[in-house]
């Protein structure tokens, strides 16, 4: 019997009720709180903040809970909230040289001013499942904190190279205009580096990781060295017109990664090390590194390098790195398409009839 294709409000409401129950899981197991997520799944929180483009640990933790741990869904929740917030200004550029460093590594020098600081890292752990974590809570030994050497600035490695003129300068925009805002104007191509970096910083970690990896395997090779990775707290300041000076708003955690790339010179640029740059909210090291590699790859045209690899194609990379857009469009295939499918049914039946008729005619001849 013909059951009408009716997705009534009752069906939707019931589906959402079921979803809420699945989210909760077995009621015999205590419910997790956003506080627990914020404190114990902090790297998930960091990813949601960075790709959600909103620095709010509590909100990100809540979104992860609501999304049942689906990261892209949580990112989407945060984005949809962020877009409703009023803008009251643009913060002053972050001074990452003044970062309260918790981790800082350079692969280009054995030792350097400010020192190397491993910080909280999975690096050098042996990836062995730890059964102890499954049992009752055990006391975690208090960390040994390095005496903060000084509150002086820890200079960037790239700044040290700049002393010798060996590395390109980070030039401000040639037109002198302030940086654009990806969220307030539609992205147009070719996009300048300010907008490219904004787009990459909120781009999907997995997509950018794959793109970065492709450059290492030969699709647009850019010879990167890990000039420096640093993670820690920086102050955010807003310039207040009335006061005439910048007012501190608070502290955020960021991860910054700068590559030093070999460059033998081209028609338009002298032989000099070049830079790729990554900066993301929270402790998102894999993302910051991927971002910097892709940023450098996207500069191929500007530097007069051979290009054509996927990671060097800004329209390809920037149009497809946003996971909120990507997941929406891929998943919209779940929506009904039966009107268009009907039109295709009609066409394919017609083409098949004609195909058969042609063959019958040919056979007769």
């Amino acid at each position: 019997m013909y059951v009408a294709v009716k997705g009534g409000e009752a069906a939707i409401a019931n589906a959402h009720r079921l979803l809420a129950s699945e989210r909760r899981g077995d009621p015999a197991v205590p419910e997790i709180s956003p506080d627990q997520i914020r404190e114990q799944l902090s790297l998930a929180v960091d990813r949601v903040m960075s790709e959600g483009s909103l620095y709010d640990r509590d909100l990100a933790a809540l979104a992860i809970k609501q999304a049942r741990g689906d990261m892209i869904e949580a990112i989407f929740l945060v984005r949809a909230f962020r877009t409703t917030l009023p803008r009251f200004g643009y913060a002053a550029p972050l001074d990452t040289a003044a970062m309260q460093i918790r981790r800082r590594i350079s692969a280009t020098y054995k030792d350097l001013p400010g020192g190397q600081l491993l910080g909280p890292t999975f690096d050098y752990t042996h990836r062995l499942i730890d059964p102890a974590l499954a049992g009752d809570e055990t006391a975690v030994p208090a960390p040994l904190r390095a005496q903060i050497v000084s509150t002086e600035l820890v200079p960037h490695v790239t700044g040290l190279l700049d002393g010798e003129g060996l590395i390109e300068r980070n030039a401000p925009r040639a037109d002198g205009l302030p940086a654009g805002d990806l969220t307030r104007e539609a992205l147009e191509f070719p996009a300048d580096r300010d907008l490219r970096l904004q787009c990459l910083s909120r781009g999907d970690e997995g997509f950018l990781l794959g793109m970065a990896y492709s450059t290492q395997r030969g699709f647009g090779r850019t010879h990167p060295f890990a000039g420096e990775i640093r993670m820690g707290e920086v102050e955010v300041e807003l310039f207040a017109e009335e006061a005439g000076f910048a007012i501190p708003l608070g502290e955020i955690t960021v991860t910054e990664f700068e590559t030093v790339n070999q460059f033998t010179g081209s028609e338009s640029a002298p032989p000099q090390f070049t830079r790729g740059y990554g900066l993301v909210f929270g402790h998102c090291e894999r993302k910051a590194m991927s971002m910097a590699l892709v940023d450098r790859a996207l500069r191929a045209d500007e530097l007069g390098e051979e290009s054509g690899a996927p990671a060097q194609d800004q329209e390809f990379v920037l149009s497809h790195c946003d996971n909120v857009a990507a997941t929406g469009f891929v998943e919209h295939l779940k929506l009904p398409h039966y009107v268009d499918f009907q039109a295709e049914l009609g066409l394919i039946r017609k083409l098949r009839r004609e195909h058969t008729a042609r063959h019958v005619k040919e056979a007769a001849e």
Binding site: M1, K6, F76
Partner: protein
Amino acid sequence: MTDLPAYNFAYLDEQTKRMIRRAILKAIAIPGYQVPFASREMPMPYGWGTGGVQVTAAILGADDVLKVIDQGADDTTNAVSIRSFFAKTAGVATTTKTSEATVIQTRHRIPEQPLTDKQVLVYQVPIPEPLRFLEPRETETRAMHALADYGLMHVKLYEDIAKHGHIATSYDYPVKVDGRYIMDPSPTPKFDNPKMDNCAALQLFGAGREKRIYAIPPYTKVVSLDFEDHPFERNVFTEPCAICGATGVYLDEVLTDDKGGRMYVCSDTDYCETQAAEGPSRPTPTMFLPPQGGGDAGAVRADAIASSVPSPLTREGQDGGGAGDVRGATITTKLNRTRDGAS
């Protein structure tokens, strides 16, 4: 509105609405041109109507009466979801009656009942660029539009004819607006294309993910691309609707069993209900628009594109296309069944 105190009327803040209205005004001023706009994240996914929702939110007033359809139906899940979104955030009256609505948001269909100059039709658009599948780069397609360089599209249509004997596009069928821009009608079946021409209602198109808005002002010439010797053809159904008996309307094919049983029913649920209520259908005169074509947009004969190529296959007659020939018997047995047991 009490449960959402933090949100503005129709969800978007006024600043955003003004930005969208500016884009809409520009779009109306340049019919068929895709205006970039700073599309926002919406509380529903990209690709699920965010462009249409933003346009609707920007034009909706407190007195408006909103209708939302998806696949021609008011009761498909996403239409239900979008309608309840505006009922909640804007508190506007909603309707399923085409004649009562002042704003109609749609996905994939144009209502069968002719629209009036008191109505606005808002389309949800996934890919606004009609040239996208011929040229993936936005930088290239924008230049092609600027130069009205549409040769590629005509070659594509010609190749269809050379290969299949027809233009093998059954929906998303490109149109030329006001003699200038080639425009994507959103994935409506080509059956609906003639309704866009000289339409009394304002037609607005929103593509949220792709950040584009475009428009067809009222009473604007909209021509489906074709060739003099291969004029545009609508999808034609030979069967009437199994529920209301309407002919000359777009039908959905519904499988009734796994043995080839099927029936054809109106895709436009409101039209179907109205016709069923009014008794045996008399085809509405406007449903039989004169066949479009005459090569206006093409302005060339298909065989002139490559004169060395032998003339394409002879043109098929106005053949059924959609309505096959399999189902005669099953339809009659279903005739008296109504949609969702409403009777």
